[in-house]
Amino acid sequence: MFRIIPDTNINFIGARRVAFGFSLLLVALGIFAFVMIATGRADLGIDFAGGVMLQGHFDQPVSIDNLRSGLAGTFPDAHVTELADFESPNAFIIKTKRPETDAEGKERAATIKNILAESFAGNQFTLDSEHIIGPAVGESLRKDAIWAVFISLVGIIIYIWIRFDFRSGVAATVATFHDVLAVLGILFLMGREFNLLIITALLTLAGYSLTDTVVVFDRIRENLKKFRSRGEFVFAVNRSVNEVLARTINTSMTVLIVVVTLFLFGGEVLRDFSLALILGVIVGSYSSVFVASPIVVEWEARRPSRFK
């Protein structure tokens, strides 16, 4: 038997106060990020804000600074990224956001193409992709995203409440929100753009982190049948966390392996998506150990009950 994790008996529950402090910080950051997004002050992707994204490549090398300064005159908010791993060299993504009208997006795309043709005459710019989203579409995509988040969170909560008693249901819900908010906050700190794919990643990690919590809770439920006396409650919870630790770490490992390869080799489209998932896997494992179970313990300590 090959084991990375030997039989452990770490006192996770004992460390709950420190963990709660750290988690509160993460959640506060996440709520702040959420408010910034909701009020439109965070960096929203063109799918939510409306805008223009052009991807293309030049025949000859172009410095990104030249490109930026060439566009800055007309579009001070233009965002230029160089693509290191695209098959053609000298590839760039140019974005400008928040057009006033649907027609303006189209005009902007045309203007950018003109500027590129004029400023870099003799250095052919080939367009590989062009995406124009009008403000109306941006608004409906925002609405759809809110619905998707709402429906899946409600669905998950309903499921938790069917499967568990009230207390563990609340604890699992808190842990899930904790994870989503923590990742949201970290991405915000990193200055990442919030788009449909990020929302998708957040929902996926909500499902994933809940799975982690469910596995621990299943074990707690099982162990509480063995350790029935009141004094053994904390012991039973801590033991359950330890018992499933190998599973938690191994599953996190396999998921981490795939999301890291996706991050490294999946290309520009999926980079932020996989980053969110990497963070999600880490935070999700942390929360199933340090957030969900300790909440149950704290609750039991204040209002003892017969935990089923």
Binding site: E87, K106, V137, L196, T200, G207
Partner: protein
């Protein structure tokens, strides 16, 4: 033991069905570019059939055009607005069919939007022109020459005044008052123009190259930028059609939009530009027409539209007049012999040929000299499909080049492969023989996933590939849960048989719960997500669902055999 046999039979059957479903995809994906090219030439029908039964690739992977249109129902009579979106979809579908895209997808979204997906088609400009144009074809007569000249003179003087005011020479500056003096001057000009009437007609015999005649740009800012262009040499008549240098076009448009100028233009005439820019004498020019506003004949009476190479190399669109329109068209052409008849498509003039004789049955639209064959084909397509019931605007456009799609496929493929290999190794090393069994289960899982995608005709997108990769990571979880449980049971000293039974049984609850939560998320994303996100939801959903089968049927079958062992490699 019979349960065991059944599981084997069902699994084998599923493998066979899966292979059948996936076979075309496999053939298509392993085909080299050359082979595909060869097949395209030899048997395009078979290639199309292959593409249709294989897993479809989303626009982001194979390249293509995605357009969302909004039908501006508010701009038409409310009485006809009901069903306008459906009628517009019908027209657009017919137009797209004319384009020959393999699998176009046209659907309604909400109350007033139409989504158009053209996979594999990357000529965005043309697609946009084809779906975005209203395509109202009208035949109109031109204003007579003398009236047109008078109008030009009036416009000249209004603009002259305006320019002076703008440049601050007269220092009237206050724009709100500007309209008053303008109105005054027009009256003066009327008189002036009357006096100059003979002069202006004489100009035309020289084909009106005003600049050369020394007409000052200052006093005639408008007419000095227009070069008389349309003249019937046989009938010795000139018509109000002028060539304008491309650089002047914007200025002319601005001027024509001035309230003072608008007021001068009689209600029954209108200025209209040519559809395309032309190159004449090494100059880029647009033609500006002065048309009589009255619609003489409309495009819906045209039928049997066909394309032809014209006498002088240009493109011509031949048509026949439908029986309901014959009388009207014959009367129109008969009464206007030797006059030009403007062919106006969506308020721009395609051409304005002279009517040579009374036309009864068949006619020809000569396209402008710079019209390409694509332009001509577009004209044919929109005439055949008819006009849209309401104008539309493009509110979203996404164009992905084929090379970008290919790049995404390559990245998706390699990152899946790398992730898969590392996970297989990790599980194999960590859980030894049991790990290898889990690896076999994982490979089956991916195979079944692809087979289901092909069988359902689902679309694979770049986020969809991410879903497959995520499935690789997540679906192993079932096996990890089971294995860790078996290990625990073994450590407590249970037999191999008892440990395997307990492991599978006790892990089931946790595995089932975790699947349900992922499925809830995937379901919400499928319902509310747009194209690429939907692809993610689909692969995640099926990947996770199928992993339950592979864990509890396929790998368990192998474990059932191992129950008889004394020790377990786990």
């Amino acid at each position: 033991m019979s349960g065991q046999r059944w599981r084997l039979v069902i699994t084998l059957a599923l493998i066979v069905v899966g292979l059948l479903a996936f076979w075309d995809t496999f053939k298509l994906w392993t085909m080299s570019d050359d082979e595909r090219q060869a097949m395209q030439e030899e048997d395009p029908g078979a290639l199309l059939a292959l593409q249709q039964s294989a897993i479809r690739l989303g626009l982001d992977l194979q390249g293509g055009v995605h357009v969302v249109l909004r039908v501006k129902t508010e701009e038409i009579d409310p009485g006809t607005a009901a069903g306008a979106v459906e009628r517009a979809m019908q027209v657009i579908r017919t137009r797209i069919d004319g384009l020959g895209v393999a699998e176009p997808n046209i659907q309604k979204q909400g109350d007033e939007r139409i989504i158009i997906d053209l996979p594999g088609y990357t000529d965005a400009g043309r697609a946009e022109e084809l779906v975005g144009q209203m395509a109202v074809l009208e035949f109109k007569l031109l204003e007579n020459y003398d009236n047109a000249q008078l109008l030009l003179q009036k416009i000249d003087s209004v603009i002259h005044e305006y320019e002076l005011a703008e440049s601050g020479v007269t220092d009237t500056a206050d724009i709100t008052e500007a309209s008053e003096p303008v109105a005054d001057t027009t009256e003066e000009v009327d008189v002036l123009a009357d006096l100059m009437g003979t002069d202006s007609t004489r100009d035309t015999t020289d084909f009106g190259f005003d600049e050369e005649l020394g007409v000052s740009e200052d006093t005639h800012p408008f007419s000095s930028r227009l070069d008389q262009w349309l003249t019937n040499t046989q009938a010795r008549t000139s018509w109000p059609c002028w060539a304008v240098n491309t650089r002047d076009r914007q200025k002319i448009d601005t001027w024509l939009d001035l309230p003072g100028v608008k007021r001068l233009i009689p209600v029954d005439v209108q200025f209209a530009w040519s559809t395309r820019v032309e190159i004449r004498n090494n100059r880029e020019v647009w033609d500006l027409y002065l048309l009589k506003r009255k619609v003489q004949f409309v495009g819906k009476y045209l039928e049997n539209i066909s394309l032809r190479r014209g006498q002088y190399g240009g493109n011509e669109v031949d048509f026949r007049i439908a029986s309901e329109g014959i009388g009207r068209f014959a009367q129109l052409t008969g009464a206007n012999i030797n006059k030009p008849l403007a062919v106006v498509l969506d308020n721009t003039v395609e051409s304005a040929p002279f009517i040579n004789s009374k036309i009864r049955g068949n006619g020809t639209i000569t396209m402008g000299g710079s019209a390409t064959l694509d332009d001509a084909v577009n004209m044919k397509i929109v005439l055949e499909a008819g006009a849209l019931p309401a104008p539309v605007e493009i509110i979203e456009k996404n164009v992905v080049g084929a090379s970008l799609g290919a790049d995404s496929i390559r990245k998706g493929f390699y990152s899946s492969l790398i992730g898969l290999v590392i996970v297989l190794l990790f599980i194999g090393v960590y859980y030894r023989v049991s790990g290898v069994i889990a690896d076999v289960g994982l490979l089956f899982n991916i195979f079944f996933l692809l087979a289901v995608m092909a069988g359902l005709g689902a679309t694979l997108t770049m986020p969809g590939i991410a879903g497959i990769i995520l499935t690789i990571g997540i679906s192993v979880d079932s096996n990890i849960l089971i294995f860790e449980r078996i290990r625990e049971e073994l450590r407590t000293g249970k037999t191999v048989r008892a440990s395997i039974d307990a492991g599978y049984q006790r892990a089931f609850v946790a595995i089932f719960d975790s699947h349900v939560t992922t499925l809830i998320t995937a379901g919400a994303l499928f319902i509310f997500g747009s194209g690429p996100i939907r692809g993610f939801a689909v692969t995640l959903f099926w990947g996770v669902t199928l992993s339950l089968y592979t864990a509890y049927v396929i790998t368990k079958s192998i474990f059932d055999i191992r129950k008889a062992y004394r020790t377990l490699s786990i």
